[in-house]
Every structure is written in C-alpha cells, then in structure tokens.
Amino acid sequence: MTDIYIPATSDTPEINFKFSSNTLSMSGEAYPENGVEFFRPILRQLQSHLKSLNGDAVEFNFKLTYFNSVSTKVFYSMFELLNEYAKAHPNSVLLNWHHDEDDDTILELGQDVQEDFTWIDFNAVVLA
C-alpha cells in the first residue's frame, strides 16, 4: 500500500499515513466544506491496509488542534476501524492523543474515545 501524504491547508490537516511503517499521523485543523467527502478516500485506504495486516503494530498520532463536528464524526469511524483491527489482534494499536493542557474539548473527546474503543491502547500526550 502506498503511503499517503497530504500537506495541511487552512481548513484541512496534514495527513501523513506511512503504511510502510504503520505510523499514521494527522495534525493541524480540520473543517473542510465537506468533511465526509474529504476523508472518504483516506478511510477506504486505511480500511484496506488494515485488512492486509496480520497483527503488525500500528501507531496513530492524533495531533489536531481543531476539528469541526463533521470531522469529529469521521474520526470516530477511523477509530472504529482501528478498534476492530485491535480486537482481532490485541495490543496492536497505540493511539497517541496529543492535546493542549487547557483544551478541555479535545481532552474530553479523548476520554470518550478511550471509553468507546477499548481495544485501542490510549496514550494521552500533553502538547508542549
């Protein structure tokens, strides 16, 4: 599977999905006009990549500082894919959840993610 690299724009994040090393990173802000359409191809590729793996460790670095409601929903679908994979291959997925210390919105969402996707190893990281 070819790696995905999409540079950030003012309303879309930097997406750096290195499938070759199973290191997936997203940073910046996400509020595209149509979030579902923007992320659909990325979700598809992630899904087919995960299908091709057999227990390899996957690391996801979530470093977004703002995302709108539609993007939030899309990320939940992304975590669902990772959770399913981790369910089939326990302890295979690490989610590094970067957040600003005073950002209670992203902090709270992280707590929800942790509760809703129990197969994913969740690691909260405070942004310096």
């Binding site: 539609v70 919105t105 809703d116």
Partner: protein, 184 residues
C-alpha cells in the same frame, strides 16, 4: 450623507463590543479567510485557551451550517448568503448567525433544536455522545452533517442556545430567516 451613516454604524459597533461582523456571500474560501481574521482578533484581545477555542468552534459550526443549509440567495444563480456577528457583552462573547432557510424546512429545524433547548448540560453531553457513536446518518436525508452541529453549539454555549425564525421580507412564500445565537 453616507459617510456619516457609516461612521455611526462603526461607532455603534465599537461601543457595543462588536468584535467581528460579516454579511454577504458565503463560500468555504470566505469562511477560512474570516476564520483567520477572527483568530488574529482574539489573539490581539489576548483571548486564549479554552474560551477562544470554543468561540472559534461556535463560529465555524454556525457559518458552515449557514453555508450547507441555506438555499441559493434570491435573484442569484447559485450563491449562498449569510450574516454573522461576534461580540462581547458583560464579559461574555456571543455569536449570532442569520441565513435564509426554505419555508418548508421550518418545522424540521424546530424539531431538531427544540428538544436541545430543554436539555441540561449533562443531557446535551449524553446526546452528543450518542450521536457521535450513531453510525447511520439517521433517516434524515437532508442533513449533510453528522447531526452533531447543534449539539456541539449547545455543548459549548454557557447559556442555552437561542433561535428565531422570522419572515423573509419580500420572499414570504418560499423563504424564512433563521437566526441562531450562542454565548461563550
């Protein structure tokens, strides 16, 4: 004299704590430009941290809601129009957005917002989580979002969100004006 009129408009806006005002064509480009401007303005006002983030989020949810759901502006080919204001009163920020809606969608919008107005902060948070986990986009085929927009606004607003649907003067048969307000 128009300059005098505009002077009054500007001075009144300043005196009433208006941070930002826009009325005109809506597009994603206009939205990202406004976002940059609002961010800089908040920085200058030294508004940092959680409140600044919530204010920004509220601004984006409202203006994208207007972009997605307003019908094309009367007399235009395919442009959307809306107005948004951000201001500060009694040490709280407010955001009010106004856009046209199709008259036939009035009931649908009321059905979506009215239950949220009755919810406590905990209930809003619960409804938000339920909607977030809800895989299917419900049976609402008009909704282009995730059904999370109004709940996100309600969650971040320190006072209950308010809305009003008023007559669109000159287009009473097809259109109405939708106003939405949140307080941060």
């Amino acid at each position: 004299m128009l300059i005098d009129l505009f002077t009054v408009f500007r001075e009144e806006a300043d005196a009433n704590g208006i941070v930002f005002y826009y009325s005109g064509i809506l597009s994603q480009n206009v939205i990202t430009t406004m976002s940059d401007s609002l961010k800089q303005k908040l920085q200058i006002q030294d508004e940092k941290g959680a409140r600044s983030r919530k204010l920004f989020s509220t601004f984006i949810e409202m203006i994208q809601n207007a972009l997605h759901y307003s019908p094309r502006a009367p007399g235009s080919d395919d442009t959307k129009e809306g107005s948004i204001i951000v201001g500060k009163k009694d040490d709280k920020y407010f955001v009010i957005c106004a856009n046209f809606i199709q008259k036939q969608h009035e009931a649908r919008i009321r059905e979506k917002i009215d239950p949220i107005l009755e919810m406590s902060a905990d209930e809003i948070r619960q409804a938000y989580r339920t909607q977030l986990k809800n895989d299917r986009h419900s049976s609402d085929t008009i909704s282009k979002g995730a059904g999370l927009g109004f709940l996100t606004l309600a969650r971040d607003s320190v006072e209950p969100i308010q809305y009003a649907i008023r007559e669109a003067v000159g287009f009473e048969n097809e259109l109405s004006c939708f106003y939405l307000k949140a307080t941060i």
